[in-house]
């Protein structure tokens, strides 16, 4: 189980698509739990690849949820075979290349979500098996085989939520209801480290220990307050099968940003 981070907050860019430009709905009633259990949580180990992990979760859970909606009888095992998780290492590498294509070397210093998503929309993502997590390869270009398999994989576009506070939460709820997991970055403290079993994490009280990118896959209402089911990159041993809960205050917090979805997942050309 890892305590590594790696989120680098996006630099503002007015060209981003957002829920307002796209005219997306922003309201959804009650609990939204249909994507719980559709994830595959890998461990970033000591790397700073959380953004790569979060983005491949967004892609994988979305594809599995959309298929399950059409085929309710499908099992998780079947979904894992039909829509295997992408390689976080490849997504992380592509994102850093996107930041500086002329860099002689890439470094394991975290990644910007926009750049990872831009790169993924061009290069797509090979399956995990084509470029599995290996700390000795964190800064290495995926093999031609992995690159080719990526080009044959699903493609994606992306947008970020512009709204803050309640508007952000309503937009997240609408995305979850539409089979779209929601990626986000936030500041975390040591309160987050080494947790197992079910727990609900609120805005940090202690000192900030890092910036981390994660993925929301569900929402429930408890005593009138929303709680969000979150998966991240510390493996299945974290929380309950890789899932823990965060308060709506945490998701709406000013240190939480780069909230957004992948969209238009389709076949490669």
């Amino acid at each position: 189980m890892s305590g590594a981070y790696g989120w680098r907050p996006n630099i503002a860019d007015a060209r981003d698509w957002d829920e307002q430009k796209l005219g997306l709905p922003v309201a959804a009633p009650g609990d939204i739990l249909h994507m719980i259990g559709l994830h595959t949580t890998l461990d970033q180990n000591a790397s700073s690849s959380c953004t790569g992990h979060g983005v491949v979760q967004e892609m994988c859970v979305s594809l599995r949820a959309a298929y399950k909606r059409q085929h309710p009888e499908v099992t998780k095992l079947e979904l894992q075979k039909l829509f295997p998780i992408g390689s976080p290492l490849a997504a992380y590498y592509f994102g850093r290349r996107q930041e500086d294509p002329n860099a002689v070397k890439v470094q394991d210093v975290g990644a910007f979500p926009r750049l990872v998503k831009q790169a993924v929309s061009v290069m797509h993502v090979p399956k995990y098996g084509a470029w599995p997590t290996d700390l000795t390869k964190v800064n290495r270009k995926p093999s031609p085989t992995a690159l080719i398999r990526g080009m044959r994989a699903k493609k994606a576009t992306f947008y970020f939520f512009k709204g803050t506070g309640e508007a952000r939460l309503a937009a997240i709820d609408a995305a979850l209801a539409a089979d779209k997991p929601v990626g986000f970055g936030t500041a975390v403290s040591d309160e987050m480290s080494g947790r197992s079993g079910e727990f609900v994490l609120d805005v940090p009280r202690g000192p900030i220990s890092g910036l981390h990118y994660m993925c929301i896959i569900g929402m429930r209402v408890v005593n009138g307050q929303r709680q969000y089911a979150v998966v991240q990159s510390y493996g299945n041993g974290y929380g309950v099968d890789g899932i823990f809960w965060m308060t709506d205050n945490y998701i709406a917090w000013h240190m939480t940003s780069d909230v957004g979805c992948l969209s238009d997942l389709g076949e490669s050309a």
Binding site: P144, L147, I148
Partner: protein, 88 residues
């Protein structure tokens, strides 16, 4: 004066031309690269669209597949060495 010098410095920096992009290899090189991959046990190298996919990756411009290096590889270790960022 300092402001003018700053502007001149910025303009001078901005006017430094970027290096031209590396020209892409010909289609034959991609096919030779696939042949090398297939010869040293990479099943993707034997796929009929291998050369097209390698070319698409290069055209995307984010990473190079190092097709000339792959095409010239005489062993598995030489092939693997082409994957490294060191060759860029």
């Amino acid at each position: 004066m300092r402001a003018i010098l700053s502007i001149v410095a910025v303009l001078a920096f901005a006017c430094v031309p970027l290096p031209p992009p590396k020209p892409l290899p010909s289609g034959d090189v991609y096919q030779d690269a696939c042949n090398s991959m297939a010869r040293f046990g990479d099943i993707e190298g034997a796929e009929p669209d291998c050369a097209r996919q390698l070319q698409r990756i290069d055209e995307a411009g984010l990473v190079s597949v190092e097709a000339p290096c792959l095409a010239k590889a005489e062993s598995k270790s030489q092939l693997d060495a082409c994957y490294s960022d060191d060759v860029e």
